[in-house]
């Protein structure tokens, strides 16, 4: 009797642990990278870390060669990481590779398919590997995208192949969609269709999208989170609106010393200008400079992009400029350029 009670208690404990484990998995982030690194002879991915919560879209932005595709291939275990941790839907991406991939829809940079076969055959082939494959949804998506199911894949244009890849990636209702430059090289109409499809995916709040691009307008349109990567290093990873709130373009006229203001002597003006420039540059080398990603002094005007705009920063700039600076919002495109230019300057 005691044995039976003990056995029942053990079973209940095991079931409780399983339920707790399942709940933790269900609540785990869609994608989590922690200090992920990969070393190549001429390039290194350095401590890439970010988290994509469930139900959101994250845009992964960076210039060509920044490490976007390498990161995505590491997540898909196509490239072996040198160090770090990758968890997809709460599971290790290597130890549970096939299990993870059953819940992930993936479309690579260059859509690879068997070219001699038809989209209908491809759907039948791919569908066998996903328990949740919805053949009706696949056929309907092909129809919606205007893809002829019986036409050989090799006869499809690049845009159509991307759409076919998207149809294949979506038809098993993935919890996480991973896309590597899905809109690169597409005409505006197809690009619009692809982005609209991404938006429709997250209507289901449990589904998430992670896509890389160097077209920042796409991220501005659809993403909730944004991660910037440059030279193998994550520079920013945050909520897109917070990033846009922090990053501002600041400009002000150089504060000429009193002896140069209103002077008509060119030498005196030149001297005053050099002094003002030196003063601003000195400030930029100090604590205030840390708030700027990039800056330039062009003639009589200072223009910079700040990565941490706040009331304090504005006050400091006002003191330096001896006037209220002009602050305007920046686009993700300008942030990307500032990051790349900033690192080039460094």
């Amino acid at each position: 009797m005691a044995v039976t009670v003990a056995g029942t208690a053990a079973t209940v404990a095991t079931e409780a642990a399983a339920v707790k484990g399942a709940r933790e998995l269900a609540e785990a982030p869609a994608l989590m990278l922690s200090a992920v690194g990969k070393r190549y002879p001429k390039f290194e991915l350095k401590d890439v870390s970010f988290v994509l919560p469930r139900g959101y879209i994250m845009g992964f932005i960076g210039p060509n060669g920044a490490g976007k595709s390498t990161t995505i291939k590491i997540v898909m275990n196509m490239v072996r990481k040198s160090r770090g941790t990758v968890k997809v839907l709460g599971l290790d991406h290597v130890a549970f590779e096939t299990e993870v991939k059953r819940h992930v829809g993936y479309l690579g940079e260059e859509p690879h398919f068997y070219e001699e076969v038809s989209p209908a055959w491809l759907g039948g082939f791919v569908g066998k590997y996903y328990p949740t494959w919805d053949a009706g949804f696949y056929r309907a998506t092909l129809r919606r995208f205007g893809i002829e199911p019986s036409k050989p894949v090799k006869a499809l244009s690049k845009g159509m192949k991307v759409k076919l890849g998207l149809a294949l990636a979506l038809s098993h209702k993935p919890e996480l969609l991973i896309l590597d430059e899905p809109t690169s090289g597409l005409d505006p109409v197809v690009r619009h269709d692809v982005l609209a499809e991404l938006m429709s995916v997250i209507q289901d709040e449990k589904r998430s999208v992670f896509f890389s691009t160097h077209i920042t307008q796409d991220v501005e349109k659809v993403a909730d989170y944004v991660t910037f990567i440059n030279e193998g290093r994550v520079v920013i990873s945050d909520v897109k609106d917070d990033v846009l709130a922090r990053w501002k373009k600041v400009s002000f006229p150089l504060p000429l010393p009193p002896y140069a203001r209103g002077a008509s002597d060119p030498a005196r003006i030149e001297l005053g200008l050099a002094e003002a420039r030196e003063r601003v540059e000195r400030a930029m080398r100090g604590a205030l400079g840390k708030a700027f990603a990039s800056h330039k002094i062009d003639g009589l005007t200072f223009t910079g992009i700040t990565r941490a705009f706040s009331g304090d920063v504005e006050r400091e700039i006002s003191q330096l400029a001896e006037t209220r600076p002009r602050v305007i919002p920046v686009s993700l495109d300008e942030i990307l350029v500032a990051i790349v230019r900033g690192s080039e300057t460094c």
Binding site: M76, M78, E99, H112, Y114, E115, V126, K128, Y129
Partner: protein, 233 residues
């Protein structure tokens, strides 16, 4: 995994049909030319299976099929082993086809048309079938070794280098066999009695098939070991 094997065979169906037709044409041609069918058909079998493997890996390389498969919920083992299994299935199919073709050509067509080396063969049909089976088995063992080397090189080095290196390996083997046979003929050396006995028994072909299978399995294991360590891009 069987889906992948079937996919490989379906994908290479045109090439397979072509190779089978060529094999049949060669067998008939040799029969009517009153020549031995066995060796040439067995050679054709080797080249056909090699051709199938090259075509299959070329298609995979051209379309980035391995990357496509890697995006699906498939293990590395399923991707690698399926390629070895599909080539093995084709090799067995060709071996059976070649054996049947030789038996038909030498056992039926030759005697009935009074053509070929088997026209007046003292042995019966079952003896002939057995003798051909032993020859085909020996070729089959060698074929497995060649295929194991090629597929292992494909998974380790990629299509372009594997195809180039394997051509060198095959040419080298051909040159060694030709040179050895020329040397033996010139020296008029008779193989020792035990070697002649081995040639007539089932032991040598069985040994060849077993050795071929062992090398094939080792090639598959080496490919898998390598694939699990390398990047797929």
């Amino acid at each position: 995994m069987l889906d992948l094997v079937w996919k490989d065979i379906i994908q290479g169906r045109r090439a397979l049909a072509f190779y089978l037709a060529v094999g049949a044409a060669i067998a008939l041609g040799l029969t009517f030319a009153m020549s031995d069918v066995g060796a040439v058909v067995a050679l054709q079998m080797t080249l056909s299976v090699y051709g199938f493997a090259v075509k299959s890996t070329y298609d995979d390389d051209k379309h980035g099929a391995l990357l496509f498969l890697k995006g699906l919920p498939l293990s590395d083992a399923a991707i690698v082993v399926s390629k070895f299994v599909s080539t093995f299935v084709v090799a067995v199919g060709f071996a059976v086809f070649s054996w049947g073709l030789c038996v038909v050509a030498e056992g039926f067509l030759g005697p009935s048309l009074r053509l070929g080396a088997a026209a007046g063969a003292p042995q019966g049909l079952s003896g002939l079938a057995w003798q051909i089976l032993l020859s085909v088995a020996a070729f089959f063992g060698a074929l497995l070794v060649v295929m194991a080397v090629y597929l292992a090189m494909f998974f380790c080095l990629g299509y372009a280098r594997a195809a180039a290196y394997n051509r060198v390996v095959m040419l080298g083997l051909f040159a060694v066999i030709m040179a050895a046979s020329a040397v033996f003929q010139r020296a008029r050396v008779q193989p020792p009695e035990w070697a002649q006995a081995l040639g007539r028994s089932w032991a040598a072909p069985l040994l060849a098939v077993c050795a071929g299978l062992a090398v094939y399995a080792a090639g598959c294991a080496a490919s898998l070991w390598w694939v699990r360590r390398r990047d797929w891009s």
